[in-house]
């Protein structure tokens, strides 16, 4: 009996066909690995560049910055009860649902995630950062710190440096525009938020006016 032997052509056809069958059998997800390794995430977390302070967010809100997209990662019930102006709700449980990926994975908006504190939002940030999504940030201190600093600012001590007073002025003004009176009544009274004229956006480098202007 004649020994069967592949010609080079047959050999090549068999090899590329088998490789094709192997790659066709690979599930899709394994061919798209996570874009950032644990090391890279750790580096980013150490640098802490994802944290944004409430003052910056308040300023963007007051200025009506169109690139700002606030994302509430708390459960829908809490979102209904209170949320920041213009915020959308992406509950933490559904963070990886395909319905929301177009919001989280994009190059246009600056997404700011927030929860009641920092932790939940930061966990969400870690997850989507690991998927390689850019332009996502975390609101430092979450809503609790927001209420404390922006909606209900405490006047600094009279001996404080000037920029403390500038920050306080800005927070007081922003508080009025962002509905602070409703949460914790301050001296402006209980005017409806919409009726309050928007304060002129205050630049960070603007000359300090002191505490009694």
């Amino acid at each position: 009996m004649k020994k069967f032997q592949f010609t080079p052509r047959q050999m090549l056809s068999v090899v590329i066909l088998s490789l094709g069958i192997i790659i066709a059998a690979v599930p899709k997800d394994t061919t798209t690995p996570y874009k950032l390794s644990a090391d890279q995430i750790l580096e980013e977390m150490k640098s802490g560049t994802q944290y944004l302070y409430p003052d910056l967010i308040a300023q963007m809100l007051v200025e009506g910055d169109p690139t700002l997209q606030l994302i509430d990662v708390r459960p829908p019930a809490e979102y209904e009860k209170y949320h920041l102006p213009g915020a959308i709700n992406i509950p933490f449980d559904e963070l990886l649902s395909s319905d929301y990926q177009y919001l989280l994975n994009q190059d246009v908006m600056m997404n700011v995630l927030y929860a009641n504190g920092t932790t939940r939002a930061n966990e969400a940030w870690m997850l989507i950062r690991q998927l390689g999504y850019d332009n996502n940030y975390v609101l430092t201190g979450g809503l609790n710190y927001w209420v404390e600093t922006i909606l209900n600012p405490q006047a600094p001590a009279t001996s404080s440096p000037d920029d403390e007073f500038a920050r306080y002025d800005f927070r007081k003004a922003a508080s009025g525009a962002l509905g602070g009176g409703a949460v914790a009544p301050v001296e402006q009274g209980s005017t409806a938020p919409a009726a309050i004229p928007r304060p002129r956006p205050q630049q960070k480098k603007q000359a300090v006016q002191g505490g009694c202007s």
């Binding site: 490789l19 094709g20 066709a24 394994t30």
Partner: protein, 196 residues
């Protein structure tokens, strides 16, 4: 992880120098493989020589399998690999013009330069025609701008467009290519030419 950002690793001039040497190597191999003969290229369409078809499909298959396997091993990040933009109508019209030129002239742009360097007169004429075409296209651009830009589809991959798994699409291409290889070899026997 690949793809590497070239300018992070080497300077722009080094990059051009490497491109120069790679280009010389590419041209040398094209010439050695006989691609500088317009008869060999035209042979694809007449069925007496399918080397060009086999070479290009082999390159495509090796490239596809390589990318998908590298991606599977985590060596390459497929999501940042550049995919050509698709303007559907200009792709079709351009493909027809290119194919017609291919049959009539017996060269594609790369092989025509390859053949011109070894002194083939038909290749030099072909290059002249190519520049003439570039000139006409550039000067008449307003006339066909609408067609050129029509039906922009973004940066789709065929597998994404039809909503099938990339690996399965690759398998389909491989099956088609293998069938084509065998069909081409059958055609070579069926329409032989003694000398070309």
């Amino acid at each position: 992880m690949a793809p590497f950002v070239v300018y992070d690793i080497i300077s722009e001039n080094t990059n051009l120098l490497m491109a120069f040497f790679i280009g010389i190597g590419f041209g040398f191999i094209l010439e050695q493989a006989g691609f500088s003969s317009s008869r060999k290229l035209a042979g694809v369409f007449y069925g007496y020589d399918a080397v060009v078809l086999k070479v290009f499909f082999t390159a495509a298959i090796v490239g596809m399998l390589g990318l998908l396997f590298f991606s599977l091993f985590g060596w390459v990040d497929m999501s940042v690999i550049y995919v050509n933009e698709t303007y559907l109508y200009s792709a079709i019209v351009g493909g027809v013009i290119m194919g017609a030129g291919f049959i009539m002239g017996g060269y594609c742009p790369g092989t025509s330069f390859c053949a011109a360097t070894i002194g083939k007169i038909d290749a030099i004429v072909f290059i002249g025609g190519m520049f003439l075409g570039v000139f006409i296209f550039g000067e008449g651009y307003p006339l066909w701008k609408n067609l050129y830009m029509a039906e922009f589809m973004g940066f789709p991959k065929i597998s994404e467009f039809f909503g099938i798994n990339e690996g399965i699409f690759v398998l389909l291409v491989i099956v088609a290519a293998v069938l084509m290889f065998w069909g081409a070899e059958w055609a070579e026997k069926k329409f032989p030419r003694e000398e070309y």
